[in-house]
């Protein structure tokens, strides 16, 4: 690849990246700063960037203000993990079928999957509510898990399918010639080779599951004990005042697991999301 840039071009590129990163990261930074401020400081004028009474007090107070906060964080993680696990169980065989098998309406159904992806969950909230009510699943973990799985399967299939297609067909033919069944080949040959792809899809699904919880939680669930963090954050909005600093602190703590996963797996993510884009 050609990557010879003039000095000016490099300066320009880095300037653009800097603007972009500031745009993305400034809210997080402001969240962090807000979480350090004493509450009365938040409404003080003029705005002070730093003062000596900044502290991590909110990070300990938040557990008192919202006693179930720990539970909410665990719920969030539990729901996201359940959604990811269930989604993967459906996505792996489906993606393999789309990558390798021939069956009627293959391309059309794949297109429909993509089409479903275009809808946000919000459009379908009312029908979903009725379905879940009929099935008696409202106010359970399932109410937040099942819709999550349903909305993430198409993305998962699309991502994993393009990864599986990169695995040379001859490997499977060799296994077939040696007498291996499709399932045996999938287990012993295809999946071990697809681990990077599985990680990518797993992380993408997890992040998706983490992000979409809020909508399903506030509509399909009234039980406090089952609420995930994004919905639980509402409890920082009191009758008298909103403890913004504690809410920011709780949000940051809640986002932390996703960030950590992202940092560890970003190498796979970047490689996986561009997989199949160019011929190697």
């Amino acid at each position: 690849m050609m990557d010879r840039y003039t000095k000016m071009q490099i300066v320009g590129i880095y300037a653009a990246i800097t603007v972009f990163l500031i745009f993305i990261l400034l809210p997080f930074f402001e969240m962090f700063m807000a979480s350090l401020r004493p509450l009365e400081h938040l409404f003080r004028s003029p705005y002070q960037f730093w003062s000596s009474d900044f502290s991590f007090q909110a990070y300990s107070d938040m557990w008192v203000t919202v006693p179930l906060l720990g539970r909410y964080i665990l719920n969030s993680i539990f729901i996201a993990f359940s959604v990811t696990a269930l989604t993967m169980i459906f996505v792996v065989p489906a993606a393999y079928a789309y990558a390798r098998l021939d069956f009627p309406f293959k391309n059309i159904s794949l297109g429909i999957f993509l089409g479903v992806n275009m809808f946000t969950g919000a459009v379908l909230l009312i029908p979903l509510y009725r379905v879940l009510r009929t099935m008696g699943l409202l106010n359970t973990y399932w109410a937040m898990i099942i819709p999550g799985v349903a909305f993430l399967i198409p993305t998962g299939i699309w991502l994993l399918r393009s990864y599986l297609e990169k695995i040379p067909r001859e490997l499977e033919e060799a296994a077939f010639v040696d007498g291996a069944t499709r399932m045996y080949t999938l287990r012993r040959v295809v999946l071990p080779l697809a681990v990077p792809g599985l990680i990518v899809v797993g992380v993408a699904v997890f992040i998706g599951a983490y992000a979409q919880q809020f909508l399903f939680a506030i509509t399909f669930n009234q039980q406090r004990e089952l609420q995930p963090l994004p919905a639980g954050l509402y409890e920082f909005i009191g009758y008298q005042d909103v403890t913004w600093n504690q809410m920011m602190a709780a949000a940051l703590v809640g986002v932390l697991p996703v960030m950590v996963i992202f940092l560890f797996l970003q190498k796979y993510l970047v490689a996986g999301l561009t997989a199949g884009a160019v011929k190697e």
Partner: protein, 366 residues
């Protein structure tokens, strides 16, 4: 171990027919090579024998059993792929053991059989490595190991040497020939390289456009090519084909006028009505020698290889002519030379590309 018969095998991909009624009878323990230009259907035919593609029509008989509808493993075949198709996440041991693991062979026997295969292929000290740590030749041997560990009746090879460099290819050719005599197995080998075909095969199938042009021993193909296509495909450098006109046809010989005016009487059989028709005379580059009288050739390019000198030039009205002469032949680029051609060594092809049977040909080497 096994005979392999193909009866009227045909194959179409949609409207495109890629194989036309292939009939072949391959003997027990024979090493048969399918050779032909790319797109001739040789790989497709091999994949049909393997059971990876289904024939549109016809039967595959292995050892007397019709296996046309059977799964590969039930046919008793094993296959070595062009890309080796090794499992990159498994060790060499597990790669070779894969077919046995599928069959759920007990550990002790599995170890013993993998060990034996590794010994034959000199891989014993490489068993714990991953394919990525091996050289091309070693990977090739692992792929062969995986195919022999199952003791199949018929071995299939799909251009197994085409990914190796030239020197290694020569070594592997010898190794494969040795392996064939060691295993006493029926082997079918696909290649586009006629040198591999000539050196390794007991018999060669020349395929062109989905049809069998000729099926015979290498020497039959070399000395008695059935068609112009076989004649120009077999032999290195390629046979010269010179347009000619038949002047006279006698009993057992014909007289032709070559492009450029030279007249030759060639000992081939002919049928009535050939006089006056256009034919092509095939002369192998190695069947000519420098002489005072004979065919005048203008030398354009001279390649001195040490042992031989290959000249590329033209005769008559620009017909290309290549000659393989002794290494010290006194020829020069840009000068003319005169070549003697033995009429008995010439091949004649009619307008359809079919050969006119030669009266006298070198004795066949068994």
């Amino acid at each position: 171990m096994a005979t392999l018969d193909l009866n009227n095998i045909s194959k179409s991909f949609g409207a495109a027919k890629v194989l036309h009624d292939i009939n072949l009878a391959i003997n027990d323990r024979e090493f048969v090579v399918f050779v032909g230009p790319s797109g001739c259907g040789k790989s497709t035919l091999l994949r049909i024998i393997a059971g990876l593609e289904e024939a549109t029509g016809g039967q595959i008989i292995i050892d007397g059993n019709d296996v046309s509808r059977a799964d590969p493993v039930d046919r008793g075949i094993s296959m070595v792929f062009q890309s080796y198709a090794l499992y990159p996440h498994l060790s060499v041991f597990e790669n070779i053991a894969f077919p046995l693991r599928v069959q759920k062979i007990a550990d002790a026997e599995l170890k013993e059989r993998v060990g034996r295969a590794a010994e034959i292929l000199q891989l014993t000290d490489k068993l714990q490595l991953k394919p990525g740590q091996l050289s091309g030749g070693q990977r090739q041997r692992v792929a062969i190991g995986r195919s022999i560990v199952r003791n199949p009746k018929v071995f299939l090879f799909d251009e197994p040497l085409s990914n190796l460099d030239a020197a290694l290819r020569g070594d592997m050719r010898v190794e494969l020939s040795q392996l064939h005599s060691q295993l006493n197995a029926t082997m079918v080998y696909v290649t586009h390289d006629q040198v591999e075909a000539m050196t390794m095969a007991d018999r060669i199938v020349v395929l062109n456009g989905g049809r069998v042009e000729q099926f015979g021993t290498p020497m039959e193909l070399y000395h008695h090519p059935a068609t112009k296509f076989v004649a120009s495909f077999i032999g290195q450098p390629n046979m010269n084909l010179i347009p000619a006109k038949v002047l006279e046809a006698g009993a057992g010989d014909i007289t032709v006028e070559l492009d450029g005016g030279a007249k030759m009487t060639l000992p081939v059989e002919s049928q009535g009505g050939i006089v006056g028709s256009k034919v092509e005379v095939g002369i192998r580059p190695e069947d000519v020698s420098l002489a005072d009288e004979g065919l005048r050739v203008g030398v354009r390019v001279l390649e001195r290889l040490g042992g031989a000198s290959i000249t590329y030039g033209t005769i008559g009205n620009g017909t290309r002519f290549c000659a393989s002469l002794p290494g010290n032949a006194p020829v020069q680029e840009g000068k003319d030379m005169t070549l003697a051609v033995d009429p008995a060594a010439c091949h004649v092809f009619d307008a359809n590309g079919d050969v006119l049977r030669r009266q006298s040909a070198p004795a066949l080497v068994a």
